[in-house]
């Protein structure tokens, strides 16, 4: 049976490694991403008869192409197309963490959001409407406390459900305001007939081009380096 590939993304200190350990235990090995010395941690788990392979992406605050870590994480998602991206969010720092969540949602890979550090959020008297958040984002949202091993089964079920429903990619759309939305639509239409854009989500490409993303711009200047 094929393995379900799950890429684990998240901002630094969201508890990504702790959660990774909670899911995979001792079944881990370390490799490098091709051509660079950035550590690639891979782990395995079985759940309800399914085999999962988890890849711990470098922790990054966003998914642009400014740092090596961001380029590695992003290229893995774009080129390897994992079955699911698991976005680990620090629930006690929700607003800052959601920046990365939005960027991941725009990449249109089936996704599960983990609200980790729920204990820290509770101590800070932060209340989160988990169902409301899930509805807004269009993906499953699972509260966890990875340090105490809380939320593992719920998270595994969410991963399995998301894998089985992989046809329904989230229809989340960030509203950039009337002016930018209009530019995005124009650009997206222009890209629709362009072969160089065919491997990517068009709205994602349009957003990255307007943001001045160098790696993405290179797609359209011919010099892929």
């Amino acid at each position: 049976m094929t393995e379900i590939v799950v890429a684990v993304a998240g901002q630094p200190n969201s508890g990504k490694s702790t959660l990774f350990n909670m899911l995979t235990g001792m079944r881990q090995f370390v490799a490098n991403y091709p051509g660079v010395t950035v550590e690639k941690r891979v782990g395995r788990m079985n759940y309800k008869g399914y085999k999962f392979m988890l890849v711990d992406l470098p922790g990054t605050y966003s998914m642009t192409s400014y740092s090596l870590e961001e380029r590695i994480a992003r290229n893995f998602l774009l080129k390897e197309r994992p079955d699911i991206v698991l976005d680990v969010v620090d629930a006690s720092n929700l607003e800052r963490n959601l920046v990365l969540t939005f960027q991941l949602l725009e990449m249109k890979i089936p996704m599960v959001v983990v609200l980790n550090m729920m204990d820290a959020a509770e101590s800070a008297r932060i209340k989160i409407d988990v169902n409301g958040l899930s509805e807004e984002l269009g993906v499953k949202v699972v509260p966890t406390m990875a340090k105490r091993g809380v939320g593992k089964a719920e998270l595994c079920d969410a991963l399995l459900d998301t894998y089985q429903l992989a046809g329904d990619i989230n229809d989340f759309r960030l509203d950039y305001g009337p002016q930018l939305n209009r530019s995005l639509n124009v650009l997206q239409e222009a890209l629709a007939d362009d072969e160089r854009a065919s491997a990517y989500d068009l709205r994602w490409l349009a957003v990255r081009l307007i943001a001045g993303d160098e790696e993405v711009s290179k797609l359209f200047t011919g010099s892929l380096a």
Binding site: Y61, S62, T64, Y66, S92, N93, E95, R96, V99, A124, G212
Partner: protein, 78 residues
């Protein structure tokens, strides 16, 4: 009508509303990654002339940026 000023001109204890991030490219991205986004209210914790860093309270996070970066942030004093 209140005037927009540059963040580096504020004093410790001042609260302000972020209006715009003038920096672009990697600097602009880094500032936004730290939570410095138009519409967000922040407080200046430490800001001494010529002494880096400038310390800010963004929600519950203390963050540090350079004077040269603070100059690129337009705010309204509250």
């Amino acid at each position: 009508m209140t005037d927009t000023v540059r963040l580096n001109t504020l004093k410790p204890g001042d609260k302000c509303l972020i209006i715009e991030i003038k920096a672009t490219g990697i600097t602009g991205q880094r500032l936004m990654d730290l939570g410095l986004i138009p519409g967000v209210v922040i407080e200046v914790v430490r800001n001494a002339p010529l002494v880096d860093p400038v310390q800010l309270l963004v929600r519950d996070n203390h963050i540090s940026i350079r004077h040269s970066e603070a100059r690129e942030i337009g705010v309204i004093l509250l």
